[in-house]
Amino acid sequence: MSKSALVFASIFPQSTATHTTPTPQATPDLGFTVPGQPFGGPSPPSLRQTQSRKRGQNQPSSQTEGLTAAQHAVRRNLAWSTATQFLSLQGAPVPGGQARHADARRSSDVQEALAWLLLEDEVEDESQMGLKCVGLRKGSNGLLNWYFEEVKLHFLGTFKPQLDEEMGRIVDVTSAWASLANIATAFGAVEQMYMQPVTNHIAPILAAGGGVNDELELHDQSDTPASRLVQHFERNLHTLFTQSLDPKARHNALALVFRDAGQKLFRLDASASVVGQLPGPGSANDPSAVINQLKELLLALNEVGLAGDDAQRAFAAAVDRLMDDFVESWHVKVDWYRRCSVMPKLRRWVDEGLARYVSEVMSCIETKQWSDMAVTRLGRARVANLFDYVIRWDTSIGAILDLKEYIATPGARIHLSTNFSQQLQRRLLHAGATTIQILDTYIYVIRAFNELDPKGKDFETEQNISVEVAKEMLNPISDGSHEYDQDLDWGNMAWVPDPHDAGPDYKRSKSEDILSSLLSLYDREDFINELKNILGDHLLKSKNSEFEKEFQLLELFKIRLGDDKLQACEVMLHDVEDSKHINTAIHNDPVYAATTVAPEVSLSTQILSSYFWPPLREESFAVPAPVAQLQEAYESGFRALKDMRRLKWLQALGRVGVELELEDRKVELEVLPWQASVIYAFQDEEEGTDSAKRTVSELVETLEMDETLVRQAVAFWMGKLVLEEVAPDTYSVLEILPASATSTSAQEAAAAAAEAAGKAAAVKSPEDILMENMQMYRQFILGMLTNQGKMDVKRMHMMLKMVVPGGFGFGLDELRTLLQRMGIEGLVNGEGDSWSIVK
């Protein structure tokens, strides 16, 4: 016996150990083990006798009734001997040889012995009662068992080595095809040889003698005891075949073949992807040829029982691989051009391609399972690159649509969200990403996920994750919030969310969801403050006197943020509206009209309830006399109108329309109040003198204006070619434009800078506040570091927020700048992010 046969024997020790060779005819022996009962010991004859009697009452065939136990045993032994000798395979030919059991050789005594053993030998015991139920008699079973043992021995001794050799030849796809075909043929021949005695001799006897009278009579021809017996034997034989082959090798060979066939069928190999050309019908890759070849092979294998469960498993593995192949193949690349999902393609492939392939291979297979698997694979592949798709949102909608089908199960959702948040962590939420980037991505994420899941509920967790992390990233960057507000809210005045007159069930529009998500990113208070600042600035600068859009927006914000929170904004809007009416009223006042000294000067005022407005610029300076007069008159008019309330003028805010009449030209401009004041100061001179000269210090004095403002204004007018610098810090009006006069680039730059400065927000910016409160912050920082010792910036920031009156509205970065400045002055010492006082 070969080694593998020994191994096989070690697994089935009893069967080989107890197998008997045919008993010699000459030695019938009553006292020995009952042949045909390899697994059981001899039973006491008396017991068998009683049992058979009991059974006999139900048995139509009562031939055995008359026999004594001894006679019975002798007869059995004789019959057994004859039958086994007849069926013995010893000396049977190797494969390819001639079948030994010719019909002619079935002598009458053999026939008799077989018939008796199969039909009459009613030896049963309790443990084998079950066999009755499947229509097999004890005798026939015993004989068949013996025969199967015989077959097994013969097979293992003769064919096994050849099979092993054949299996060993399988190294690649081609050899797998060939070897499997060979094995199928070989098994076919062997099976035929082994089955011959059963089909030719045993089955006919059983069919003739047993089935009809069987109490469990079955009408179906295929279910007669005889056919069942044959089937049983065949099954055993197939098991033997299957077991004789190395399961792993067999599995691999089959899987190879299946996968190869699939690849050829769907043209998944690389060569096809290059051109995608259809192979000619005759070639090896022709789909129909492939499928036929495979079917042939499978049918052959099925004949010998090799296409059973194991083959299904191999097939499953192959399909598994095929799916991967397909997902990775050129067929389902992200569709960047048509911007659509390739899911339909994938599904079509599964339904029409894979399913057909599968059903060709196995008649009963559920495609849904396969398609689910394929969808999962593609989904996972898409999830792996989800971040890339998200940041390329819109063009990547195909990928998102793919995912939409994937996330039908909770597991898939979890996979997607965990995976995606990992990607976010890795790729977005790092120190290098800017606020704008993060916000952009955030918007994309919301859009993409909206597309994925319009209800949006199930990704709340996911969004919360991003919100949480984004919050952390954003909070210190107050600049970021500034930019964002302007971009989203005021940069585009045409932007209006969807109507809100719909009921609560009305599906919110996507843009709104994004807005609310974004709103949730910011601290509500911070957001409202920022909104107030922007609105204030906007209102003061706005040239429109109608504020419909602003009111509209305010209403929308109210819905979102709550009425009470936006009270200040409302007051601000009403202020500007009321100002219009007050202006009209006062202008119509005869007292006011009378004080209009210079008819060309007119004044219109914005009356602001300073309590509600954000901190405003308060630089004060002397306005031109006519304006001052008007202001006085206006104030008294207002006092009369508004029950003695007083006005406090904010000279720096506002705009002035200026018309300059120079000797050779007219200049008309809309400028800022201090610019107007400065240019007005040049006019004050007596008529007839040379063009007035003013020095910066003079201007500072007469106008009671900040020097920086004066310089800014002068630079502005120089840029406009109205003033010229006649001596250092001394300027005069450029009455006549020199012929060659074009402003130099330096002047232009200065003017541009001045203009930019002029455009500076009417509302104090956080930077202004930082500079203003600098001294206080510095004291707090010094006090903190003196007493608490070394601290890192984060902790300092937290402490400042806690102890500084009115809060510390700046981020870590501003604090760092402040500390660095203090470090330069030698007050504090920084080590990385930790600071301590210099002792």
């Binding site: 010094l782 006090g783 007493n787 608490q788 402490m799 002792k839």
Partner: protein, 179 residues
């Protein structure tokens, strides 16, 4: 500086803790304004600041007055404000080891204005100024540290040596532990 510093024996005054929320806000307000004053009009040589997340616990710093044995040394103190502050005195202890007739080795201070003579008109700043002057003008009549009281007059050199021997600046870690 002439802050009257009558000395009494140190008893740990149990702090009444009838902290109601309104009380707490009052304390917080008062302490916040005290801090603001301290920060914006600082007195030389003294400083104080609340601990992280706890406005009722402060760390203060006193620089030893010049021309005293403590010149050039820095001392850390802890202020614990009861919820009844300013009607009850804060508990003030030296954290930096100090050798002084009216301060024991665990940092407890014997100073009348922190005990029975406390009044709501005192504040962190005045307490710190009193303590600073106590360093230069100990009350040797009722000392907590008898040896120090004796040496103060008898052997200023030995006194100074002992002051320096006892003094040790707290590390940042130790300061954090205080919180």
């Amino acid at each position: 500086m002439s802050a009257a510093a009558a000395v009494s024996s140190p008893t740990k005054a149990p702090q009444a803790s009838q902290a109601t929320s309104s009380n707490n806000t009052n304390v917080t307000k008062r302490l916040q304004s005290e801090l603001m004053t301290l920060m914006m009009s600082p007195s030389p040589g003294i400083s104080a600041f609340p601990n992280e997340n706890d406005l009722l616990n402060w760390i203060a710093t006193i620089e030893g007055p010049s021309e005293t044995p403590y010149a050039g040394l820095t001392f850390k103190l802890s202020f614990k404000f009861p919820s009844t502050y300013p009607y009850t005195a804060p508990t003030v202890t030296f954290k930096t080891p100090i050798y002084h007739p009216n301060i024991d080795f665990s940092g407890r201070i014997c100073l009348d204005i922190l005990k029975e003579k406390w009044s709501a008109i005192y504040n962190v700043q005045s307490v710190l100024l009193s303590l600073q002057s106590l360093l230069g003008e100990p009350n040797n009549a009722s000392p907590l540290n008898g040896q120090a009281a004796e040496l103060w007059d008898k052997d200023p050199t030995e006194y100074k040596r002992l002051v320096l021997a006892r003094h040790r600046d707290l590390s940042d870690e130790e300061l954090q532990e205080e919180q």
